[in-house]
């Protein structure tokens, strides 16, 4: 299964671990994840590390997720608008569905995602958690 191969995640480490996206060299627009072409049609970017602060704009829970996420089920999922602009689809950690509300402040946190089988690589990345 594609999810069990480490390499498809490895090439995204800076994006996944450190919330690194891109800043357009021409208009300054920030992107997460990186894109090939900015809204201003420029394709020149420099890396930009986001500060991890954001606002929850919608949320739900996943009772029975894909096989790879079975050990985490049920888990909360949301869309976060970063204070610096872009929106991110993200798991929400350290909270229950009842704790969440649209408009609440959230912050990025480094977390385990899933393990590829008993001896496979452990995949990590960024989730968000309520800013209590």
């Amino acid at each position: 299964m594609f999810r069990s191969t480490p390499i498809i995640r490895w090439r995204k480490y800076d994006e996944r671990y450190s919330l690194v996206g891109a800043k357009c060299a021409k208009c300054g627009m920030l992107h997460y994840p990186r894109v090939a072409l900015c809204a201003c049609d420029s394709s020149k970017f420099s890396p930009h590390k986001f500060n991890g602060e954001g606002t929850l704009i919608s949320f739900t829970d996943v009772g029975s997720g894909p096989e790879a996420f079975a050990e985490h089920s049920p888990y909360c999922l949301g869309i976060v608008q970063l204070s610096e602009g872009p929106k991110i689809t993200t798991q929400l950690s350290d909270c229950k569905l009842e704790d969440l509300s649209i408009g609440m402040k959230v912050i990025a946190t480094f977390r385990k995602f899933y393990t590829s089988g008993e001896k496979g690589a452990i995949h990590y990345g960024t989730k968000f958690t309520p800013k209590w």
Partner: protein, 383 residues
Amino acid sequence: MKIGVIGTGLTKFGEVWDKSLRELLAEAQLKSIEEAKLSPKDIEMIFTGNMCAGALSGQLHIGAMASENLNLNVPSTRVEGACASGALAIRAGLQAIESGSAKIVQVNGVEKMTDVSTDQVTTALMGAGDEEVEGFQGATFPALYALMARAYMKEFGLTREELAAVPVKSHKHGCMNPIAQYQKELSISDVINSSMVSDPLTLMDCSPITDGAASIILASESVAKKLNPDAVWIVGSGQASDTLSLSARDSLTEMKATRIAADSAFKQAGIAAKDVHLAEVHDCFSIAELLAIEGLGLAKKGEAGKHAAAGYHYFDSKMPINTCGGLKACGHPIGATGVKQAVEIVHQLQNRAGKRQVKKAETGVTQNVGGTGATVVVNVFKR
């Protein structure tokens, strides 16, 4: 544009355990040819919509399978655009005829989904989203539509009861459609109290996992007039795209690609939203039906839920929607859905929809969505 639909074919939709992917496809193909009173050798080109056969049946190369089923060597192509694969196949057929490459084209859609576990289907369907942005985060399609539903409820004050009116109506229609997967009525409380899938969407807000196939025969205007005095005409077709992931869009509460595709299809057909008598829309989840209705301009933004609750969308009411039972009750064999929507509109316009027949329908519309709105196709049909 004026291209005739001169034949239709549908298999039973549901858990069709005794038929394989190939057998389902062949059954629908032979039915549409028989209805058009053609012989297989009259088919000049074939397009078949399919999304998941690679992941669920280990079978790609569906184009060659479809031509082999008819013992033909004609060009035959599989078309994939997630859940919009069926309507994309129709557009490929329309373009083949418009370009003059063919005069008679068969368009099919097929999906075989019940041979594997629900987990495997869920994972395969996530291929319709953005794997790196959404799949990696453990998103599922019910969850992505739940994100839209919650944002919509907050923005427009849609209630849980209003949203539940969508599947209640779909199941009522499904009871009148012999091929529908579910032919059982639901109440509002059945919907609200069914098991939670992704809050606020319950199991009864979600379309099921379905086997099935659908087929139509398209013909150029002159050929269609000769072959079938009762042909239904496709007079407008629009397709639009949006970002693969939901989070990259400006708004979670509208499907921009529906609006763009509808504008283009309606313009080509020379109609406005007020001219539409009935529509088959992509209700993969109850919230999607409301977004579709608003995207097509059949209700103002934020009002489709009120219309649903007021009963406007029943086959015998103001604005009939999903008279076949929709994806929810008729079933959602992914690649077949877009073609089945066309079959339902054709049957309605030919006055052969049985108990669910819409009176005096002249203009019908289909809206087929891939993913969370990344691909949308709108087609306009006239009697």
